[in-house]
Symmetry: C2
Subunit: 568 residues, 2 copies
């Protein structure tokens, strides 16, 4: 490809609306352009990377025995009513009407459509297992699309759905997919980690996420230093308390705490250890609860895990915090003075709260706290559960190693769905005895367009992107110095371009009439792995300059050596 | 691919709702399934063909110097307001609102989006010409989607848009695209024809359609027998009259014609030649007209060409016929008794009407006709234009050969858009003198998913599809006879499958426990070009049976000969 016939579209300035590095670099390197909020046009350079990611994903899916299909983006509303997700899904599900006023959605995912296909096309256990996938455009109407293609509204995804006669068969395919996902990210040369995950709104039991590790990752991963365990912090079980509750030593007494609205203020102003304080959080109750609100208690130095909390049947999912005014009405106080004593709504406490004694909490009276509170003496012991995030340094849930933390970008997610969709949509097959069995299902997603951004978050420096070879938009760039003044440079550059291109090497030939500095900067920004600089003076010596984007090393080589390097 | 790991989904019965052969065969061969009206899921076999078509299109676009991009399907309404197509486009343009109540459309085409990109990214004539394309999902909310993927609502299209500093440059790229399109259809081994076309709602001047020739084609193509001319009937200019108007010989007189509602009835009941009759058609007038309706006149034996008619400034576009009641109000009579005499609305006549004399037409009085009508004596000569379809046997508009007719399926369309979009959206570049110039644009579409159906319309027999090699889902199918009873057959089939697959040949291995007849029928239905049947008895003789789907010929070959045939 010659830049003169290409749309390079690099930018010198960092666009002010791009918050994270990948978004900035994708705009600056001319990979994408914003059309509207969360909608991006992929320019040629970006699309080349996207297609390479897509190709690797496709190859590994095929190798793993999955079969490709293509489902519509526009899906009939009926199917979503059948699974009740029409009502359960938030406004991320864009509901539309066609010219005949019939209900449709822009598909954010395809469980309904594939289950509709399966119940019609799979009749017998003999057709199982079957793993169908597609690489397709998805739409999620995010309330606040951000970070460029990392969290766009329209995006490219590979989604696969497997069908099984029983759990045993499901387990085998799940492992096959787990391995395929590892190969996908290994082939892209990305530092990644599969982690145990919560299955969220998709449903099901076992689930793993695949994270590209990067400082900017939105997800926190708890992994075992010295062990195999790794889980999304949302999912990682905190250890049970290692001690039992001590006997009460203090009397409960009320103290004016006008300047202590937070736990930090409380422990800095009063003689109380943070391990002896409680945070009280008021959240909306689920429809199953008798009350309108529920109080959640975690120790002052612990953090509420919202995903764990919303699994409790009394808690509304997704978790929703009460407003200050609602809290005042329910507890008698504004946030900052809340506590469990004499609270008239259901209370759920973290396991570690139940073993506390002589502790402090708000008095449900503005500017007042109670100290020396004790369970069973001053108030009943509430129901307990794992409600908090695991902490760095705690023991790994599987007993091997201690927990460390890393940040990750979720680029893949695999689920055992069980019969959630097949039951709702009555997708059955005949087993060996001619008896109808509900299909067991798995599903497996890869965020194809997100991988492009995640790869950049992990692979860049202050000059631009550093593409892993497997997903680079071009393998080699040829930069001729003052080509328009030197016939010899022109000749050598053209010959090299022709030789490499003929051998299938993907070469970008920068034939613009630009100063060498401009070309160098653009190509480092775009992050092409190998640069060959052809100049008149070095040609005189019979050499050109080769530069590696990864390590920045420069070497002089003859043109023959360059050709041998790439064609081998 | 082994059928045991595949979703074959063939059907024995022809689905009753499929009207045309390609739709029937695509359902029966397990290529697609209907999800909802005009929405199809591509099953593995169909998708394999679709991807081959897509790959050929992409290769030829790249070879022609076009550069690939990918634009969103969901497009902001603002851009459509800018070009005024928000209002001009019919309900095929699905207008939607996102969660924030902002207007969007599901893109049926991408002129607005690409012009938005061009006005931001193309600054200088030095970047031109530039030809950007994408292979992308489109949505058109057809009022009556039909014929399967032939006229679906969601479909796959390649659309390209080129940008130029002047017409000369536009002409060159247009020719390059014309040639690329010819190569695309040649590579697919389809019988096709490029024809002059009307540019319709997309706008612009020069335009060609590419048609796959097939009996079932919706379009009629007028081409010159003994010449190069070919045009969509919509676009083919009818010749000018070869004679002048004869003098009036008869008196105008009214005749009761109670049983003559049509031209055919008129000429069979009365002594008048069809060439001396006139059809009067009442259509809605455009906003530019003073009247609400306009009368169009064509000779009794000629057919109104609606596309030509709606180009007249007084005629509403798209053409809309008046209702019977409206006609009664305007003319005084119902259809069947209409004519130009004493009509009080604008009248536009075909050129061939203006040279008529002593002709018959309705009297604008129910059950009455006028005979012996003559222009300029009985009524003024109206404005004339080419209003009718060209006829078989007439001279070709370019003077070479006589017109013959063929039916075609439109699979490609190329346009010179001129400055229609660039002007509306103010897309300019600086020319060599630093002066802003409005971009000249071309656009080039290929109906990727429609090609699959069109190829079937052209290539099938009563047993099923006959794929051209280049777009066949698989190249070879191996059918083992009673494999589960013969270890020798099993071994030979597996070995052949492994050898061919390892060499990159796309092989389907029918390893189902089915009777040979079922397997043969399925594979002929699917239309795989080459079949290798492996049976115990022929293996004893050291041979297998090779069968060609195209000519039906069977040959015995050794396994080595089979391998040599496909690997070469």
């Amino acid at each position: 490809m010659r830049t003169s016939h290409y749309l390079l579209s690099t930018l010198k300035e960092t666009p002010s609306d791009a918050e994270i590095v990948s978004h900035q670099l994708m705009l600056r390197a001319g990979m994408v352009r914003r059309l509207a909020s969360g909608l991006y046009t992929w320019l040629p350079t970006g699309l080349r990377v996207l297609r390479k990611v897509e190709a690797i994903v496709r190859e590994e899916m095929n190798r793993a025995g999955a079969v490709e299909t293509l489902m519509p983006l526009v899906q009939p509303g009926d199917l979503w009513h059948e699974t009740e997700r029409w009502d359960q899904f938030g406004p991320e599900l864009l509901r539309i009407k066609d010219r005949h006023h019939r209900e449709f959605v822009l598909g954010p995912t395809h469980e309904e459509v594939i289950t509709e296909l399966a119940r019609k096309e799979i009749a017998s256990y003999k057709q199982l297992p079957l793993n169908l996938y597609q690489v397709q455009t998805k739409f999620r109407d995010e309330v606040r699309p951000r970070f460029g293609v990392m969290r766009a509204r329209e995006f490219l995804m590979k989604d696969a759905y497997s069908f099984h006669i029983n759990q045993d068969c499901m387990d085998k395919t799940y492992q096959t997919m787990f391995d395929a996902y590892c190969r996908i990210f290994e082939r892209m040369d990305l530092e990644f980690r599969p982690v145990l995950a919560d299955s969220g709104s998709i449903g099901g039991s076992l689930s793993h996420e695949f994270h590209v590790l990067a400082q900017s990752g939105e997800d926190l991963i708890a992994y075992a230093d010295g062990g195999d365990y790794a889980a999304n912090i949302e999912r990682a079980e905190a250890p049970l308390p290692t001690h039992t509750r001590a006997n009460a030593a203090a009397d409960m007494h009320k103290v004016a705490t006008p300047n202590a609205k937070t736990i930090d203020e409380l422990v800095s102003q009063f003689d109380v250890a943070i391990e002896h304080t409680i945070k009280t959080l008021i959240v909306k109750a689920s429809d199953d609860a008798d009350a309108e609100f529920v109080a959640l208690l975690v120790r002052g130095d612990h953090e509420l895990n919202e995903v764990k909390a919303e699994k409790h049947p009394l808690v509304a999912a997704p978790l929703e915090f009460a407003t200050d005014e609602q809290i005042k009405t329910v507890t008698g106080a504004y946030p900052g003075s809340l506590g469990p004593v004499a609270l008239e709504i259901p209370v759920i406490a973290d396991h570690w709260v139940a073993v506390m004694s002589d502790f402090a909490a708000g008095a449900n009276e503005d500017g007042q706290h109670l100290f020396g509170i004790n369970w069973e003496r001053d108030l009943p012991l509430p129901e307990t559960m794992d409600l908090r995030n695991i902490l760095e340094g705690e023991q790994s849930p599987d007993g091997n190693g201690t927990i460390a933390m890393a940040r990750g970008i979720e680029v893949g997610h695999i689920f055992q769905l069980g019969t959630k969709y097949s039951e709702a949509m009555n997708a059955t097959v005949l087993d060996e005895n001619g008896k109808a069995q509900t299909l067991t299902m798995g599903c497996y997603g890869v965020g194809v367009s997100r991988i492009v951004a995640a790869a950049i978050e992990q692979n860049h420096d202050d000059r631009g992107i550093i593409w892993p070879q497997a997903i680079a938009p071009f393998s080699v760039v040829i930069i001729p110095m003052n080509m328009h003044k030197s016939e010899r440079v022109q000749q050598a550059a053209n010959d090299l371009y022709d030789s490499l291109t003929a051998a299938g090497v993907e070469v970008l030939f920068d034939d613009r009439k630009e100063r060498p500095g401009v070309m160098f900067n653009d190509m480092e920004l775009i992050g092409i792995p190998h640069t060959v600089v052809i100049g008149d003076r070095s040609l005189e010596k019979g050499v050109v300059e080769y530069k590696n984007r990864q390590d920045g090393n420069k070497v002089e080589m003859s043109l023959d050596e360059v050709i041998a390097k790439f064609i081998g």
